[in-house]
C-alpha cells in the first residue's frame, strides 16, 4: 500500500515530447483511472510509474520515496498488461507463482498464496492447465492472479479488458472492483472506455495530448466537466453542443425556438457553446413555450433508437445533430418535426473559442 505522486512528470522520446508535465497525487488505497483518446500518453505514464520507461523530467514518488531511478523490482508495483503477458510454457499455477519468484518465501507459503489467489479468482480447477487451453477472461484472471500474490504497493492496469467481449468485460470489471475493495491497494487503471472509468474509479484523470485536462470523481466529471473535450468524453451518448450568442432577449441558441435567459457567467463571451446531456433533453408533444428558463430545441427526427429503459431520438436541428430522450418511450416517427425541452439549470456553458467551461447556467427563481 502506498501513495503515488507525480510532480511535473515529462516524457520525451527523442525530440518528441509525449507527456508534458503531469501533476497527480494518488492517495493510499485509491482507485484512479486514466482516460483519454488513443495516443494521449496513458500507457506511457503508467509505464513510467512501473519503471519500464525512464522519466525524462520531474519527480515520481511511491510511498513518499523518490523512485525516478529505481528498477521496477525496487518499486514493488504489479502490472497487468493488455495482452496479459502470461507465459505459454508455464501452467496456470506456475504463472501465478511467478509473481513470487523473488519473494524468498518458503515453498509451502508460496503454494498457499497461489491457492488463495486462485480461489479468489475462481481458477482452482484450472491450475494445471497451460494458457493455450484458457479463454480470454481466464487468461486475464491469471495475469491478475500473478499480480495479486505479491502484495504490491500498487496495482497498475493497462487496458486489461479491451481484448474481451462486452459481456465478459462487464463481469471482469466487477471482479476487479471487488478485488480492489477487498485488498484495498492503490490502483492506477488505464482505459479508454469511459464506462469502465466511471464505474470503477474513485477519481478519474482525463488526459489529452500528454496533458491532464481534469481530475475529479466520476460525478464531478459528469456534472461539471471543465471543457468541451471532457464533457463529450464522459457520459453516453455524448453531450449535445449547440452554438449560441447574445441577442436582445437573452441567449440565442441555434436550433432552439426561443432565446433563453443569459446566465451571469456568459457575460462578456461573444460566442458560446451550450451543452445539454441527452438525458436532460426530453421530447414533448406540447408546443414551444415562452419560458426563458427552458431550452426548446426543434428539429426533424432522423433516427430512433429504442434501448429498452430509454429511447434515443436523433434530431437534425439548425444548430447541428442532437440526441434527445423520448418521453415515456413514445418516440415521434422518423421524418416528423419534433420538439425537446431541457431546464436551463441542466445546461453547461462553454466558451466556443477556448472550449473551457463557463459553469452551469443557474436558474433564476
Amino acid at each position: 500500500m502506498a501513495t503515488i505522486e507525480l510532480e511535473n512528470i515529462v516524457k520525451r522520446f527523442g525530440s518528441a515530447t509525449v507527456v508534458h508535465g503531469l501533476d497527480l497525487a494518488i492517495a493510499d488505497g485509491e482507485f484512479v483511472a486514466l482516460v483519454g483518446p488513443s495516443g494521449c500518453g496513458k500507457s506511457t505514464t503508467l509505464r513510467m510509474i512501473a519503471g519500464l520507461e525512464d522519466v525524462s523530467a520531474g519527480t515520481l514518488r511511491i510511498g513518499g520515496v523518490v523512485v525516478n531511478h529505481h528498477e521496477p523490482k525496487r518499486r514493488n508495483v504489479a502490472m497487468v498488461f493488455q495482452n496479459y503477458a502470461i507465459y505459454p510454457h508455464l501452467t496456470v499455477r506456475e504463472n501465478i507463482a511467478f509473481g513470487l519468484y523473488t519473494s524468498g518465501l518458503p515453498k509451502e507459503k508460496k503454494a498457499a498464496r497461489v491457492d488463495e489467489a486462485a480461489r479468489i479468482l475462481g481458477l482452482e480447477d484450472l491450475l494445471d492447465r497451460r494458457p493455450a487451453a484458457l479463454s480470454g477472461g481466464q487468461r486475464q484472471r491469471v495475469a491478475i492472479g500473478r499480480a495479486m500474490v505479491r502484495n504490491p504497493s500498487a496495482f497498475l492496469f493497462d487496458e486489461p479488458l479491451s481484448n474481451l467481449d462486452a459481456q465478459l468485460r462487464n463481469q471482469m470489471r466487477i471482479e476487479i472492483k471487488r478485488l480492489h475493495q477487498r485488498i484495498g491497494a492503490t490502483t492506477v487503471y488505464v482505459t479508454h472506455d469511459q464506462v469502465e472509468a466511471m464505474t470503477m474509479a474513485d477519481r478519474i484523470v482525463v488526459m489529452r495530448d500528454g496533458r491532464i485536462l481534469q481530475i475529479g470523481t466520476p460525478s464531478d466529471l459528469y456534472d461539471a466537466p471543465a471543457d468541451v473535450f471532457t464533457a463529450r468524453f464522459i457520459g453516453t451518448p455524448a453531450m449535445n453542443l449547440l452554438p449560441a450568442s447574445h441577442g436582445p432577449d437573452g441567449l440565442v441558441v441555434e436550433g432552439a425556438a426561443a432565446p433563453i435567459r443569459a446566465p451571469a457567467s456568459a457575460a462578456g463571451v461573444a460566442r458560446l457553446l451550450v451543452g445539454v446531456r441527452p438525458q436532460d433533453l426530453v421530447c414533448t408533444d406540447a408546443g414551444a413555450g415562452a419560458d426563458p428558463d427552458v431550452l426548446t430545441v426543434t428539429g426533424t427526427v432522423t433516427a430512433v433508437e429504442p434501448l429498452g429503459p430509454e429511447t434515443h431520438v436523433h434530431l437534425d436541428t439548425s444548430g447541428g445533430p442532437v440526441i434527445a430522450l423520448a418521453a415515456d418511450r413514445a418516440a415521434p416517427p422518423v421524418g416528423a418535426p419534433a420538439t425537446a425541452l431541457a431546464r436551463t439549470r441542466a445546461l453547461h456553458l462553454f466558451d466556443a473559442a477556448s472550449e473551457q467551461a463557463l459553469g452551469r447556467a443557474a436558474e433564476h427563481a
Binding site: A50, G51, L52, E71, P72, K73, V77, A78, M79, F81, N83, A85, Y87, P88, H89, F98, G99, Y101, T102, R130, R146, R150
Partner: protein, 326 residues
C-alpha cells in the same frame, strides 16, 4: 500429411453439405462437386505434393535403398555386382581406419554442435540488443555462410601456416609463444578444422536464433522485470524455454551438418585429404575415398549405410530428448 489427415477427421468440416452443381441444381451433385470442402482441399494438397514426392523418391529414396543393396555386394565398377552377404560390414568392423574415422566423426559432432550452438546463441543474444550498426554486424556474421568452403579454406590455410607466412603463428610470435603446427599435427589438426567449420555455420545459426528471439513478445520481459527477475533469471526462465523450438531445430540441423562434415576437411588438407595419419578424416571423406579413389563401391555403400544409421539414430534421439512435454 499429419495435418491433412487431422483436418479431414474434424467432424465440423467433414459434415459440411456438398455444394450443389451450379449447372443443374435439381440433379444430385456429381464428380468434383460431390466432394466436400475439406475433401477438395485434400485433393488439391495431394495434387501439389505429388510431383515433389515423386521427384524426391526418385532422387533420394531410391539411391538410399540402392545403397543398402550395394553394401551387400562387391561392386567395383568393372565387374557386375556379386552378392557377398555381410562381408563388407565385417571388413569395416575390423578396419582400424574405420574406427579412427568413426571417432573423428563423433568428435566433430560432440564438440562442434554444442560449441557452435552456445557461441551462436551468445552472439545472437547480445546482437539482438545492439542498435548501433546492427545490420552491418549481422551481415559480417552471415558472410561466411555465403562463401564457398574452398575459398574460405584457402584463407584459413594461410592463417594456419607455419611462420613466417601463417597469420596466427605470426600473432603468437609477438607474444613470444612458440610456433604451433596446427594442420600438420595429429592432435591440433582436427580442432583447427573444427574451428573453421563452426565459423562457417555460425552466421546461419545466429540469424535463426535472432529470428527466434525477436518472436518473443517484449511484454514477457517487461512482466518479468516488474516481477523482479534479474537478467539471468529472465534468460533461464523465459528466453531459453520460449526459444526451445528454435534450439531443437538448430541442434538437429547442426548435428547432421557435423556428422556429414566434408568440404572443410577436404579443402583444408587437399594434398593429404584426412590430415596426418587420417587424424581429421570424417566418415564422408572415407566414403568418398573408398568410392572414387579405390572404386570399392560395395565397401563405400556399407559405410554409407552406417552413416545413414548414425544420422537417423542421432536425429531421433535429439528429437526425443528435446521433445515438447505437455
Amino acid at each position: 500429411m499429419a495435418r491433412i489427415s487431422a483436418r479431414t477427421s474434424e467432424p465440423g468440416v467433414v459434415t459440411t453439405a456438398p455444394l450443389p452443381s451450379p449447372t443443374s441444381p435439381e440433379a444430385p451433385p456429381r464428380g468434383w462437386h460431390r466432394l466436400s470442402m475439406s475433401q477438395k482441399q485434400v485433393v488439391w494438397a495431394w495434387g501439389f505434393l505429388a510431383l515433389p514426392i515423386l521427384f524426391y523418391a526418385g532422387i533420394r529414396f531410391y539411391p538410399t535403398l540402392d545403397a543398402f543393396w550395394l553394401s551387400l555386394t562387391d561392386w567395383n565398377l568393372l565387374r557386375p555386382a556379386r552378392f557377398v552377404g555381410l562381408e563388407n560390414y565385417a571388413r569395416l568392423v575390423s578396419d582400424p581406419q574405420f574406427w579412427q574415422v568413426f571417432n573423428n566423426t563423433f568428435a566433430y559432432l560432440l564438440i562442434g554442435t554444442p560449441t557452435s550452438i552456445v557461441i551462436a546463441f551468445v552472439i545472437a543474444y547480445y546482437l539482438d540488443r545492439v542498435r548501433f550498426m546492427h545490420g552491418l554486424i549481422r551481415a559480417l556474421y552471415f558472410l561466411p555462410f555465403l562463401t564457398t568452403a574452398a575459398a574460405m579454406a584457402w584463407v584459413w590455410r594461410w592463417f594456419y601456416q607455419p611462420p613466417p607466412i601463417g597469420a596466427i603463428n605470426g600473432f603468437l610470435a609477438t607474444f613470444g609463444i612458440p610456433a604451433q603446427p596446427f594442420l600438420r599435427s595429429t592432435e591440433q589438426a582436427l580442432p583447427a578444422i573444427m574451428v573453421t567449420a563452426i565459423w562457417a555455420g555460425l552466421g546461419f545459426q545466429i540469424i535463426i536464433f535472432m529470428a527466434g528471439l525477436r518472436a518473443i513478445p517484449g511484454t514477457y520481459y517487461e512482466a518479468a522485470r516488474i516481477d523482479g527477475l534479474g537478467e539471468l533469471a529472465i534468460l533461464r526462465k523465459i528466453t531459453l524455454p520460449l526459444l526451445k523450438p528454435t534450439t531443437v531445430f538448430l541442434v538437429v540441423l547442426s548435428s547432421i551438418g557435423f556428422l556429414r562434415i566434408f568440404d572443410q576437411v577436404y579443402n583444408m588438407t587437399t594434398n593429404d585429404p584426412g590430415g596426418p595419419l587420417g587424424s581429421t578424416k570424417p566418415l564422408v571423406l572415407m566414403i568418398y575415398q573408398s568410392a572414387f579413389s579405390s572404386y570399392e563401391m560395395g565397401y563405400a555403400a556399407a559405410q554409407t549405410v552406417v552413416l545413414f544409421s548414425i544420422l537417423l539414430v542421432v536425429s531421433l534421439l535429439q528429437l526425443w530428448i528435446l521433445r515438447e512435454r505437455t
